[in-house]
């Protein structure tokens, strides 16, 4: 693990976001912090503002969105802590990919269709680490290997449309790891996959993040996915952060109503599946 635990990696305080003037805010006074190497699941119903939170951490919201609050990022101790809300666009560009990386739900659509997979990974290596062309290419091959894809040399030459969703999401993780970040934000990385591929991908995520000591902010609406990967859960309900607790304390009576609802939903789902499976045998 990296630096001291008492110094959080990132500390979000009173973050509020409003997309359009006069509309209700999408995020209201959200505060939480993450330590180095920690993995947190951010759960909540569809439309509660999870993606908005992710995009505001990357400062990639539309230009006309109004954002308030502070996001103090300490990174791995290489630089003075900085408030991402206050830095200029150049600094932010240096943070993206290199210190905070992102994995998207639409895995195939997040790849440039007219560029070979290996070149896209190498491009990120070059941009974030200033490596030269051949070093970047070698590192791209290593990264493809690290996310568990077979025959990395051949895969580097593949085009995005030739990949399955699961393969593309592994490439998405390789792209996120390429900058050697201290935080990866994964926005519903497995929502578009079947259960089998989903658990494989989650395993790859866990392994890669452990190995590199990367903190993971996993966004999901599925408590089961959160339980598979995270050691803490933050629950977002209509723009407010209503619950923040260790993953094994989800059935305690002090949970917020929204948390209980999500846990119940997950239980119901697995029960329903068991029932259906029982009927089919």
């Amino acid at each position: 693990m990296k630096t001291a635990i008492e110094q959080p990696l990132i500390e979000v305080t009173d973050l509020s976001v409003r997309y359009k003037r006069g509309q209700a805010p999408v995020l209201r006074d959200v505060s939480f912090s993450m330590n180095c190497g920690e993995s947190i699941a951010l759960v909540g119903d569809s439309g509660c503002g999870k993606s908005t939170l992710a995009m505001s951490l990357m400062r990639l919201l539309p230009a006309d969105a109004a954002v308030r609050g502070s996001i103090v990022f300490r990174g791995d101790g290489e630089f003075e802590p900085m408030d991402l809300m206050g830095v200029d666009e150049r600094t932010m560009q240096a943070v993206r990919g290199k210190h905070i990386a992102m994995v998207f739900q639409n895995s195939v659509g997040s790849l440039d269709p007219v560029m070979r997979v290996g070149n896209q990974i190498a491009e990120v290596v070059r941009v974030t680490q200033g490596a030269d062309r051949s070093t970047a290419h070698k590192m791209a091959i290593k990264l493809i290997e690290r996310v568990g894809l077979p025959s990395p040399q051949r895969l580097a030459q593949a085009w995005p449309h030739e990949l399955s969703g699961g393969m593309a999401q592994r490439v998405g993780l390789a792209l996120a790891l390429a900058g050697n970040p201290s935080l990866i934000i994964a926005d519903e990385p497995t929502s578009a996959m079947d259960a089998n591929v989903q658990s494989q991908i989650l395993e790859v995520f866990r392994h890669a993040c452990r190995q590199a000591g990367v903190a993971l902010l996993l966004i999901t609406h599925d408590i089961c996915v959160a339980q598979a990967l995270a050691n803490r859960v933050c629950v977002l309900d209509r723009g407010s952060l209503v619950d923040n607790r260790p993953i094994d304390k989800l059935d305690s009576p002090s949970c917020h109503a929204a948390t209980k609802r999500l846990v119940d939903a997950a239980r119901l789902k697995s029960k329903a599946f068991t029932a259906i499976a029982g009927k089919m045998v």
Binding site: A94, V95, A101, L111, V114, M115, V124, V127
Partner: protein
């Protein structure tokens, strides 16, 4: 696919010309001046030009010659058609190809800037200007340019490809002379092209900018410039190539009026002259050649598209 299209075009041209009223013989016979020609001469002309053979056999004989690029001799001056067309080919290709190149060099930066600043003043002004310019026919602009820059101020030549005394000039003088003669006609080709392409490229680019991979590229720490040059522009290229394949024939078609207007010794004017003279061999040779050019352009565009987009390659 290319070959049946080709034969179809050849057949349609042949029928259109031969079934329309009037013939080179009657054109001279019904004429004025010397009082026309006798009906004996008329019949001799018809025999000479093989106008009395059945339509189908004329077409069959002609088609076999077309394959060898032998279009026969011009009715108007008796020289081989292929020779007449070849000497007119390069002025047209010069002005259209150079125009398209310059056009692309103008269109891509303007359209990119407009797309990246969509909804801002520059974008709106450019879009408005494009609609406005596109609505003005090139022959009007051509006339205005000739009258103002050519006749009133005598800044630029507006007739023909070269000046008198061209053959005595040194190489660079020849070059400058041709450039000077090309400016006005080039502008008339250029502005509708730009006015048409800028909104197209801008719209294509806007839709690419909204793609997930662009947002992802920003999230990976690329600068705006890197995202635009490495990801947005390459993805705009495919649709642009497709539309170029459609535009080249339109530009060639538009060359008739402009070349006549600027006395440009190109294919467009040759076509105009030979239609006027009912010079069948030249007309048909021209049509076949245009078909070859258009089919060739389509082929090249398809190849380039496949090169630029892997998804097309395997489709």
């Amino acid at each position: 696919m290319t070959i049946p299209t080709f034969v179809g075009i050849v057949l349609i041209t042949f029928l259109l010309i031969h079934l329309s009223p009037g013939s080179p013989a009657s054109g001279t016979a019904g004429g004025f001046g010397d009082g026309g020609i006798s009906s004996v001469d008329h019949d001799r002309l018809r025999t000479h030009f093989e106008l009395d053979a059945p339509l189908l056999s004329r077409f069959g004989r002609w088609l076999t010659r077309v394959i060898r690029f032998d279009f026969g001799r011009s009715f108007a001056d008796g020289r081989p058609v292929s020779q007449r067309i070849l000497e007119r080919l390069y002025p047209t290709l010069l002005v259209t190809l150079v125009t398209i190149m310059i056009g692309l060099c103008i269109v891509i930066p303007i359209a990119s800037y407009a797309a990246l600043h969509a909804g801002k003043h520059f974008d709106r002004i450019i879009l408005g200007a494009c609609v406005g310019f596109y609505a003005i026919p090139p022959y009007i602009v051509g006339m205005v340019l000739i009258l103002i820059l050519g006749v009133r101020f005598e800044w630029l030549p507006f007739s023909g490809l070269t000046s008198e005394g061209y053959s005595e000039m040194r190489l660079w003088q020849k070059f400058v002379d041709i450039i000077q003669h090309s400016v006005l006609i080039g502008c008339c080709f250029l502005y509708p092209l730009v006015a048409y392409l800028v909104p197209f490229v801008r719209a294509t680019m806007l839709s690419v900018l909204n793609e997930d991979f662009v947002r992802a590229a920003f999230a990976r720490g690329l600068t705006k410039r890197q995202v635009v040059f490495r990801h947005v522009l390459p993805n705009t290229l495919g649709p642009l190539l497709t539309v170029m394949g459609l535009i080249v024939p339109a530009v060639l078609g538009g060359s008739v009026v402009l070349e006549v207007m600027f006395a440009w010794p190109g294919m467009g004017r040759l076509l105009y002259e030979s239609i006027h003279d009912r010079d069948y061999p030249v007309i048909m040779g021209m049509t076949v050649l245009s078909a070859v050019i258009v089919l060739g352009v389509t082929l090249v565009v398809d190849l380039l598209h496949a090169w630029s987009d892997p998804r097309v390659r395997y489709a």
